[in-house]
Amino acid sequence: MAKIKFTSALKRFFPSLTEIEIEGNTVGQVLDNIEKIYPGISNYLVDDHGHLRRHLNIFVQGDLIKDRSTLNDHVNSSDELLIFQALSGG
């Protein structure tokens, strides 16, 4: 299972948020499974059409994902995913 780390900024809205391990072969599948644990979090991560929000970044093994629309980047079971806000606040 992939290891997921979240920006601490999300803890304001999901106080129980913590580093978790989760299944999923793509970034999209991982996010779907995160939603099952933290209901409502998807709305913070993706927009009306399921596209990654503009000021949010996801890294897989340190690399920024390429597919921000369908979230189809592959995830291996040993990968680490980082879900961070972009540096849009200056």
Partner: protein, 361 residues
């Protein structure tokens, strides 16, 4: 009876309480977050707040206990809708909420950017895009619907006829005023008499920029409008708009408007200097009042800075509740006056930019 003033700023919700003419801040909530819209539903006292998160998108919350606790609600979604062919529509901002009539207790309207009007029949648990307006043929014409200082057109004003809740008007920047008489199934443009000085044809049917519209409850055929190109008023339910801007061009441009809901002749505006400058005229912050349907305007300035003021008052940052007038500025100043006394008092400063106000009792 104490009055609460809800101040939606670019950095949180500030709640003031007024008793015996003394006002003090009693709470700050959603600290650091930009408040896009505020609404207090007079039918049930529910408070609504829209938030624009820099990173996490738009969020909608409501409180049924006067702000002590908040519940996050479903955000309206444009899923499966396209702004233009091939261009998915995405919620940018929630601009306004309005109850859909006293005979429809759980129903609400919500206006958004890009140009969406949403309806809820379950008190905000779910939202459905009003396709009657979304599919209006003019919406796809970028000469008729376009953004005004924003990337997309937006619906900022919704007024419901108290005689008939199926009769609704919306204000769209830019497109103009639309009216439905069947609860949103069909919409007609109602812009005759408006001026769009920035268009090749200033008298075009569409492409107008109403900044704010308000309907007089005592006479619902009277609707006031602060427009990009002046102040307008209709006395026949929008069939014809009269330009009631002041003589010699003052007041004319501005955003803020409030009205006397019991007196169809009385309204207040807060003028600004041109779209290119957006500052008080001559740097003097003033409120203009009419008591004769816009034939004459006079300034009410006592207590306001008469020089070197850069305060701009946005469209949803000016309210009246019974005998109290209140406005907040983009410089974080908050002023109140008694309607009769006409003396402004600054009750808060150093707030963040004030986006919107609401009152609650």
């Amino acid at each position: 009876m104490s009055l609460q003033l809800l101040v939606g700023t670019s950095k949180g919700l500030v709640i003031l309480k007024g008793e015996n003419n003394q006002w003090k801040i009693e709470a700050v909530q959603f600290e650091g977050l930009s408040v896009s819209t505020l609404y207090v539903d007079e039918r049930n006292g529910t408070w609504w707040i829209g938030l624009s998160h820099r990173h996490w998108g738009e969020k909608l919350h409501r409180s049924t206990d006067k702000g002590r606790t908040w519940q996050q609600m479903t955000t309206p979604s444009f899923k499966d809708y396209f702004y233009r062919p091939g261009q998915p529509a995405t919620l940018k901002k929630m601009w306004t909420l309005q109850h859909a009539g006293k005979d429809k207790p759980n129903c609400l309207w919500l206006g958004t950017e890009p140009g969406g009007l949403f309806f809820s029949d379950d008190n905000g648990q779910s939202w459905k895009l009003s396709e009657g307006l979304w599919n209006h043929p003019s919406r796809l014409d970028d000469k008729q619907w376009f953004g005004a200082g924003k990337d997309f057109p937006f619906i900022h004003s919704i007024v419901v006829d108290p005689r008939d809740s199926n009769h609704v008007y919306v204000g769209v920047s830019c497109a103009g005023i639309f009216e439905t008489i069947n609860g949103g199934k069909n919409w007609q443009a109602k812009n005759k008499g408006l001026v769009a000085a920035y268009l090749p044809n200033p008298n075009a049917e569409l492409g107008h920029d109403p900044h704010k519209i308000l309907l007089c409850s005592a006479n619902p055929d009277v609707i006031w409008q602060q427009n990009h190109c002046g102040i307008f008023r209709t006395v026949d339910g929008g069939k014809n708009w009269d330009n009631i801007s002041g003589q010699n061009g003052f007041p004319n441009y501005g955003f803020a408007l409030t009205i006397d809901e019991q007196d169809p002749e009385t309204a207040w505006v807060i003028p600004a200097q041109s779209d290119a400058m957006r500052i008080p005229v001559d740097l003097k912050l003033t409120v203009c009042k009419t008591v004769d349907g816009g034939k004459n305007w006079r300034s009410i300035s006592e207590g306001l800075p008469d020089k070197f003021s850069f305060d701009l008052v946005l469209r949803h940052a000016f309210v009246k509740y019974e005998k109290t007038l209140a406005f907040g500025s983009n410089n974080g100043n908050l002023y109140l006056s008694d309607v009769q006394d006409e003396k402004w008092k600054r009750v808060a400063n150093n707030l963040a930019s004030v986006n919107c106000l609401a009152t609650a009792v």
